[in-house]
């Protein structure tokens, strides 16, 4: 039974982590593509159109990866989490079915037209198809976060005698206080990834003295979008999201921040340290007094509940993992703001394209938003443990009763092998597109 749950969780964690490497780029990138295409319509400068089409090719590749790795996500609710699906399907099935009907059809129909229909449709319609792809991908994100928010903070439901969750208020699903902060936070984080990728590839071109015209365009656009989004992802949306955790999941907040004991006179903010679960303390701690109380309640001496105040059986299952996930996300987010602010200043002074070390930094920063996004999601998901539906349904009660651990391990290994192959192919193909550069792109 223990093994079974472990493999079910591993398989979901592995497949969702791999899957979300792709949508996190495509959602943000679709916004930048719409921007490039719009600039082209406004200015008629050809390079904007080439830029739009170049990124569309990268988008298409990522989108295809997102689709093929996304279908297993929908199936796994039923295959591995049957009991959870049976009990909550009347509610989360609602938002998931809406995602299929509203966004997948939209995206898949118009992506083909955007990729192959430029000559058939003319420029304005071509812009419109690009915009619809953007709309579809952001709608998809919205409905997924709506589902996620219900699991974090269930609303609009009642529980029947047989344990089934039944919807009694449809609009409550979309007025969930958890939903909007998380959605904006997540979408901005996706724009961060896309901006850093666009700027990073631009820096790569500039440092290589190849496609320099596009290198400049990509760096400039990426830095502007990157600066705005990396600030907004922290303040106010990250702040709102954290305040939701304080309010609805205080034990999770204590674990995230590494607060083992409630402190009189206000809590410190931990910058670095390793949780020692045996002795219930942080090793090698570097912390600043009273800041956490201030950030949370705008009062220096506000009390923040430590883990000692909660029942141990409701502790998040993996406290160190949760703590690291959160701290890596926040730490990287801070670095992103600093780098983009620096690059922004250089851009404003018209020196950015010649400041080599900043370009190097931008290029090497490319993978890190992926790490920040992933660890941010780990914070949300590990933070919800040991619950599937917060405070109502435990993870151990949600797995499929008849699927043995051997069968799950078999499919987990299969997914690992297949996704390894997919990942390698993806890197080869994306490298090929980048090497060819924007102007040779013919669509």
């Amino acid at each position: 039974m223990e093994d079974m749950l472990f493999y079910d969780r591993m398989q979901f964690a592995f497949t969702i982590t791999f899957h979300y490497l792709f949508p996190q780029l495509t959602m943000g990138l679709s916004l930048l593509i719409v921007y490039f295409k719009w600039k082209f319509l406004r200015t008629q400068v050809e390079s904007y159109n080439y830029a739009a089409k170049f990124w569309m090719k990268i988008f298409a590749l990522n989108f295809a990866m997102g689709v093929v790795t996304g279908i297993p996500m929908e199936f796994q609710f039923g295959t591995n989490w049957a009991k959870f699906s049976e009990l909550t399907g009347g509610i989360i099935g609602q938002t998931l079915a809406m995602e299929g009907m509203f966004s997948f059809f939209l995206e898949s129909s118009f992506l083909g037209l955007f990729l192959f229909g430029e000559k058939l449709m003319g420029q304005k319609l071509h812009f419109l198809t690009g915009f619809l792809v953007f709309l579809g991908s952001w709608a998809s994100g919205f409905l997924i976060i709506a589902t996620h928010s219900w699991m974090q903070n269930p609303v609009g439901y009642e529980i029947l005698e047989n344990g089934k969750f039944v919807l009694n208020n449809f609009s409550a699903l979309f007025g969930n206080p958890w939903l909007w902060p998380s959605y904006l936070h997540n979408q901005l984080a996706s724009v961060v990834t896309a901006s850093f990728v666009v700027a990073g590839i631009g820096a790569f071109y500039l440092l290589n003295n190849k496609h320099s015209e596009y290198g400049k365009l990509f760096v400039k656009t990426g830095v502007i979008f990157g600066l705005i989004s990396s600030v907004l992802v922290a303040f106010p949306t990250g702040d709102w999201t954290a305040k939701n955790v304080v309010k609805h999941q205080p034990v999770t907040f204590a674990a995230m921040e590494g607060i083992f004991e409630t402190e009189d006179g206000g809590s410190e903010i931990v910058l670095i340290g390793q949780p020692d679960m045996e002795n219930k303390k942080l090793d090698n701690k570097i912390a600043v007094p009273n800041i956490l109380s201030f950030l949370t309640y705008q009062k220096w001496d506000a009390e923040i509940k430590g883990l000692n105040e909660f029942d141990e059986e409701n502790y998040p299952t993996n406290i160190p993992g949760l703590y690291y996930g959160y701290h890596i996300m926040v730490g990287l987010g801070t670095i992103f703001i600093a780098l983009m602010a620096l690059a922004g200043v250089q851009l404003w002074r018209k020196k950015l394209y010649k400041t080599k070390w900043v370009l190097w930094a931008i290029m090497f920063m490319l993978p890190f938003p992926y790490i920040a996004n992933t660890t941010g999601w780990y914070t949300a998901e590990l933070g919800r443990q040991p619950w599937l539906v917060y405070n109502l349904l435990r993870t151990s009660e949600g797995a499929s009763p008849t699927v043995s651990s051997g069968n799950t391990l078999f499919t987990l290994l299969g997914f690992v092998g297949l996704y390894l192959l997919l990942g390698m192919l993806f890197l080869i193909l994306v490298g090929k597109i980048i090497k060819k550069g924007p102007e040779i792109v013919k669509l």
Binding site: E86, T88, G100, L106, F116, M121, L167, I433
Partner: protein
């Protein structure tokens, strides 16, 4: 309300069978008949801009199943665990096969992805037929052993096969001779369907050959359909009871046979779209007849202890189902608009589209 969502779900699955069905068929023909680069191009052009949107019907149908019939979704997806995960893997291979072959102009690279696309299509066509067979045959709900349920009444698990490959065995498997028969019928029907699509959407040199193939395969298909009807009583002693009680249901078998017999005229038609129309009739009619024969069951029980799953005992609660109707009609209208736009822009023959040349 349950009935409404049942019709919606069946309608969406039927759309999936028709639309992605031609992609599978095209893949099978690609695997066995397309020898030259020109033929291969013609086939991938014919399905290129469509297959992805077609696959969405499966995902969307899965979503509606989850939302409207959560117990059925939970029971069948966990019970048919292994074949479902394998279907996912095959869908991945089908997709990357189609998308990757044009990325490098290298014979070895292309032949790898050609095979991936073709073999995955063939196995998918087979698996979906087998899946239908499993649903009509039923399963040991609750995993009853000696009159005692080992699990809750609506859960089960099936291995891929049992040693006897018999649909009447005590311990059932996914693949037995009955489900395999339906799998082979599915492969044949979808091959014919895909051939019709290629004829409809291209001017390829294969078209004449394909017409001959459809004509021949149609005899085999007819024979197997007759055989399957003769052996159907093995899994269901009274397969016609619903049709006798509700005579208008005969329209579904009628449509099936109009489609099947119509296809024998394949060589005579001047317009290329007729074949596709008739193979679609066969698929929809066959699918609907099968669903109608077990209605209101959606997953029959093979034991006497636990009742069959019906649309009434697996459905979500009333409020959710009725509120869902509001957004569903809006979404359906939008989907219809997208399809009209998509099929109008890519209307006619597809030979010049140049799909997959990145």
């Amino acid at each position: 309300m349950e009935l409404f969502w049942y019709v919606v779900l069946m309608g969406m699955l039927a759309m999936y069978v028709i639309l992605d069905g031609y992609d599978f068929g095209a893949g099978i023909i690609h695997l066995f008949l397309a020898k030259t680069e020109k033929d291969k191009k013609a086939i991938t052009n014919a399905i290129g801009p469509f297959w992805d949107a077609n696959e969405v019907w499966l995902i969307a149908a899965g979503g509606v199943l989850f939302f409207a019939f959560p117990t059925l979704y939970a029971s069948s997806f966990s019970g048919f665990y292994l074949p479902l995960i394998m279907i996912l893997w095959l869908l991945i291979f089908r997709a990357i096969g189609l998308e990757l072959r044009g990325q490098y102009h290298n014979a070895m690279w292309q032949s790898i992805w050609d095979k991936a696309f073709g073999i995955a299509s063939l196995l998918l066509a087979l698996f979906f037929g087998v899946a239908l067979g499993n649903v009509v045959r039923g399963v040991n709900l609750g995993m009853v052993e000696n009159g005692v349920s080992a699990h809750e009444a609506h859960y089960f698990f099936l291995p891929l096969w049992n040693p006897t490959f018999s649909p009447m065995a005590e311990h059932l498997g996914i693949i037995d001779w009955f489900t395999l028969l339906l799998g082979v019928i599915s492969v044949l029907a979808l091959t014919i369907h895909g051939a019709n699509w290629i004829i409809y959407k291209t001017n390829s040199g294969l078209n004449q050959k394909l017409k001959g193939l459809i004509f021949k395969l149609n005899f085999v298909l007819l024979a197997l359909v007759v055989v399957s009807l003769l052996v159907w009583h093995v899994i269901d002693p009274k397969p016609f009871r619903n049709f006798i009680e509700t005579p208008w249901l005969w329209i579904f078998p009628l449509i099936t046979f109009i489609g099947l017999f119509g296809l024998f005229n394949v060589k005579r038609w001047k317009k290329d779209g007729y074949g596709f129309l008739f193979s679609s009739l066969f698929l929809v009619g066959g699918f609907a007849s099968t669903a109608a024969s077990i209605f209101p069951n959606v997953l029959p029980s093979t034991n006497d202890v636990n009742p069959s799953l019906t649309i009434y005992n697996v459905a979500a609660h009333e409020y959710g189902l009725s509120v869902g109707m509001n957004w569903f009609f809006i979404a359906l209208f939008l989907v219809a608009v997208y399809m009209v736009v998509q099929y109008r822009i890519f209307k006619g023959k597809m030979d010049d589209v140049g799909y997959g040349e990145h």
